[in-house]
């Protein structure tokens, strides 16, 4: 007899489990070797704690009451629980803090799209090291993790979360108009973006600048091109990015980093550098992260922070595709 499990969840059988275990061990070894201690937190948190981390309603998809009527939530990522853990357990300890995790997170899915309701994340959090050093360290750990997973062709996109917020402020685009412009940017709908910027009453030249910016991605030359477009917001963002990129370059770690001014992450807590991870063998993003310098403040600790999470199952798929490709070559 067949008994159902909810869509977006799955059983893992021995062959896959063996490979996943190997992958997890390889990742944890990289993290530990760089001084990141592994932690675990409960899958269930108080909803108010999760909401404190991500102010927008997006926080958790699964909420329920416990026996005394308290509202609980399944965690939707590990960054907020770790911020909570640090504020509660490490408030007196001397920063910086380096923590890593391998944990399931839970998000709502759209039906029939192969999306996972329950998925594994492997990641690190570096608390108390400001930009650019902190960002650079996190990217180096990420590169080592990708190498350990055998994804030598993987690429890290590096963008800036504040660029458009500040740029739109500069242009006087506010409220609903601003939100709809940001939504077009996040979806990378260039046709809609142009329309909405025009509707917001911005001069044609500046509309062009915004649209052009969102398409700029590549090596260092991107920063020079962007800088030529002028404006305070662009200048500040490119200055931050080039600081980070130059430091990566000095350490020989810039090879697989793609500067991307069109990058926008949909989590509410990011500020400054943001990251996305791609592998050419896969059409989906396999990881993401960035800086969230204001998040710890919401939990009462005034510390800067950065981190990333790899989606373990997708990394595993990419691993298989890469080894298949290697076999064919």
């Amino acid at each position: 007899m067949i008994h159902r499990i909810p869509p977006g969840t799955r059983d893992v059988l021995p062959d896959e489990m063996r490979e996943l275990r190997k992958l997890k061990a390889a990742l944890i070894e990289v993290f530990e070797a760089r001084g990141y201690g592994e932690v675990a937190t409960p899958a269930i948190e108080y909803d108010e704690v999760m909401a404190r981390g991500d102010g927008r309603a997006a926080g958790s998809s699964y909420r329920f009451f416990d026996e005394s009527g308290e509202l609980l939530a399944l965690r939707s990522d590990m960054t907020v629980p770790i911020a909570r853990l640090l504020a509660s357990r490490f408030a007196q300890a001397e920063p910086p803090h380096r923590l890593c995790y391998l944990a399931s997170a839970y998000r709502a899915v759209r039906p029939q799209r192969g999306q996972m309701r329950e998925f594994m994340q492997a990641g690190v959090e570096l608390i108390g090291v400001p930009a650019p050093e902190g960002t650079v360290e996190v990217i180096e750990v990420l590169e080592a993790a990708l190498d350990a997973a055998g994804l030598e062709r993987a690429v890290i996109g590096l963008g800036d979360a504040d660029l458009y917020r500040q740029l739109l402020e500069e242009l006087g685009v506010e409220g609903e108009a601003r939100d709809s412009v940001l939504a077009s940017l996040a979806a990378h709908d260039l046709v809609g973006l142009e329309e909405k910027l025009r509707e917001a009453g911005i001069a044609a030249e500046q509309v062009e600048t915004c649209v052009a910016l969102s398409q700029m991605r590549g090596g260092r030359e991107v920063l020079e091109q962007a800088h030529g477009l002028g404006g305070g917001a662009v200048e500040r963002a490119t200055a931050r990015l080039s600081e980070t990129f130059d430091e990566l370059d000095r350490r020989g770690a810039a090879d697989r980093v793609q500067i991307d001014l069109g990058l926008l992450r949909d989590l509410g807590y990011y500020s400054g550098a943001i990251l996305e991870v791609y592998d050419p063998a896969l059409g989906h993003v396999i990881g993401g992260g960035g800086r969230y310098d204001d998040l710890m403040k919401r939990f009462g600790l005034d510390l800067s922070a950065a981190g990333f999470a790899l989606y373990l199952e997708r990394v595993h798929v990419a691993q298989m595709e890469e080894s298949r490709r290697g076999g064919e070559a």
Binding site: R113, H188, L190, R217, G219, D260, P280, G283
Partner: protein
């Protein structure tokens, strides 16, 4: 342009472009001709679905499948109608360019000289709308504060109100002739749709130079 320094991100083979069969097919091939892609093979009567040309692979499919293939990265870029993109708005594909051709309107239509639609709304508080575009229809009526019951059909939607399935239809109209011949008339215009050039999210990042070049050429071609 943006020559990406990360040489390790070498792409696998030529760029794969999803080409919509059906109403957009001819004009899609025309615009590809204009950017120097050899389209003689897909224009022939071959039953093949995949055509290797110099530097680019053309994959032909139903327009409504284009977002599926592009989202998954099975095709790197593609051409499809804005109607398809709106109906499948939850598919993550990057919309890079309005190609301008294939212009048509998404409309609400009902039987000419017949007030069933208005009557249903007044007296029943709810209109029954037959459509191949349930999400576009739902969104349109929701955003205008009206309630509908969506009846999803797959074939000729014009049939539905004629024999009593639904009070009206939401459908794509190019010339309006089909509506007219079936005794229907446009009551509201919902949105204008044209063909769009779309890209997979990861391909857009990792094959930046190729995709930017193709986008620029397409932009040039539709201007000319």
């Amino acid at each position: 342009m943006t020559s990406f320094a990360g040489s390790r991100a070498k792409a696998d083979g030529p760029l794969k472009l999803a080409v919509p069969r059906g109403a957009l097919f001819g004009e899609a091939l025309d615009v590809l001709d204009a950017v120097g892609v050899d389209t003689s093979e897909p224009r022939g009567d071959s039953r093949s679905l995949i055509f290797e040309t110099d530097g680019i692979t053309l994959v032909t499919m139903r327009p409504s499948d284009v977002p599926t293939y592009v989202e998954a990265g099975a095709a790197d870029v593609g051409i499809t109608g804005k109607d398809v993109l709106l109906e499948q708005a939850d598919r993550v594909v990057y919309e890079l360019l309005d190609l301008g051709f294939g212009r048509c309107r998404m409309v609400l239509a009902a039987r000419s000289g017949d007030d069933r639609l208005g009557e249903a709304q007044r007296r029943l508080g709810m209109m029954r709308i037959a459509t191949k575009y349930p999400r576009i229809a739902e969104r349109h009526f929701e955003s205008t504060g009206r309630q509908i019951e969506v009846i999803e059909v797959k074939g000729s939607v014009e049939l539905a109100p004629l024999i009593g399935l639904g009070d009206g239809i939401v459908d794509l109209v190019a010339t309006g002739r089909t509506l007219e011949e079936n005794g229907l008339e446009v009551r509201e215009e919902i949105v204008e749709c044209t063909a769009r050039f779309v890209a997979n999210r990861v391909a857009y990042k990792l094959r930046a130079a190729e995709i930017d070049e193709l986008t620029a050429k397409l932009r040039e071609a539709i201007r000319g």
